[in-house]
Amino acid sequence: MADDIVFELLHSEIINYAMEQSKDNSEKKEADLSIVEYIGFAAGYKVMERLTREWSRFKDELDTMKFVCTDFWTCIYKKQIDNLRTNHQGVYVLQDNAFRFLTNFSNGQQYLEYAPRYVAYTCGLIRGGLANLSINSIVTAEVQSMPSCKFHIHVQRV
């Protein structure tokens, strides 16, 4: 669909821009993706306010995570999370078997080293959404084989 591709292209341009910036600023090998993560955070925060408008109050944390996996994900990536796992102690693993930003790449090992750039935005998106629902967390991503991606959410308890 036309409106989907706009988001995808804008996203890849944001990554390119951030890469360009970090190239100028420092000679570090590690790319600076914190700006991309922050853009995701702001977007997630705002989307969540809209999305939960018609919803009844969430029962608990797991209920909130289910919401993120189903409705929040559908709103942004037009599909649901394929697998949600938790240890019931504040660690959640969300697995997407065909993550949208990675589906256009080779399925083999070819671009595996660049994959982390394309998941930073989404980490921020999840973190921002949860932050607005009063859940402070650290979100990291892991890509092992190409179109599938795992997001690890560590909830910070005070």
Binding site: R57, D60, A131, L133
Partner: protein, 155 residues
């Protein structure tokens, strides 16, 4: 209908307090703040009972109602009635009506509910301003104007 509406943030700090009428004096501003803040305790209490009821997970018939975002009449004084609404994102919306004015004394619950739902929609729009940072006061004149017209339309 409404004499005052307020948007209260996650940490009980006021993000926006707006009233109507020709009075913009400091005294009125203070009395508004006072009215809104008297309701906050009642609001917290209402939320706490919601949580315990859910934890008990009993087949309580009132449970569905308690999970509603609209919390109904929180507090009433001789002159004012205070209604509350809490979003999923812990933003508290408070609406104060005057029970001395003819239009405010016989206001229906459904009207307040719709007004607060519309306020929530306006808030969600205001928050989408990219220059607005989470937790900041809402200073947008557009939001102010929309809220004022919301209050007046319901007279």
């Amino acid at each position: 209908m409404a004499v005052c509406v307020a948007v209260i943030g996650k940490d009980n700090s006021p993000l926006y307090i707006g009233g109507i009428g020709n009075d913009t004096g400091t005294d009125n501003e203070l009395s508004r703040q006072w009215l809104v803040h008297t309701a906050l305790d009642a609001l917290e209490e209402r939320l706490a009972t919601t949580n315990t009821n859910n934890a008990a997970a009993g087949t309580n018939t009132a449970r569905a109602d308690l999970r509603d975002l609209y919390l109904g009449l929180l507090y009433s004084t001789d002159t004012h009635k205070i209604y509350g609404y809490v979003t999923n994102t812990r933003i508290k919306l408070v609406l104060v009506t005057s029970s001395t004015s003819p239009s405010g004394s016989n206001i229906r619950d459904a009207e307040v509910r719709t007004a607060l739902r519309r306020l929530h929609a306006l808030y969600a729009d205001a928050i989408c301003n990219p220059f607005h940072l989470p937790g900041d006061q809402i200073t947008s004149p557009k939001f102010d104007k929309q809220v004022k017209s919301l209050m007046l339309n319901n007279v």
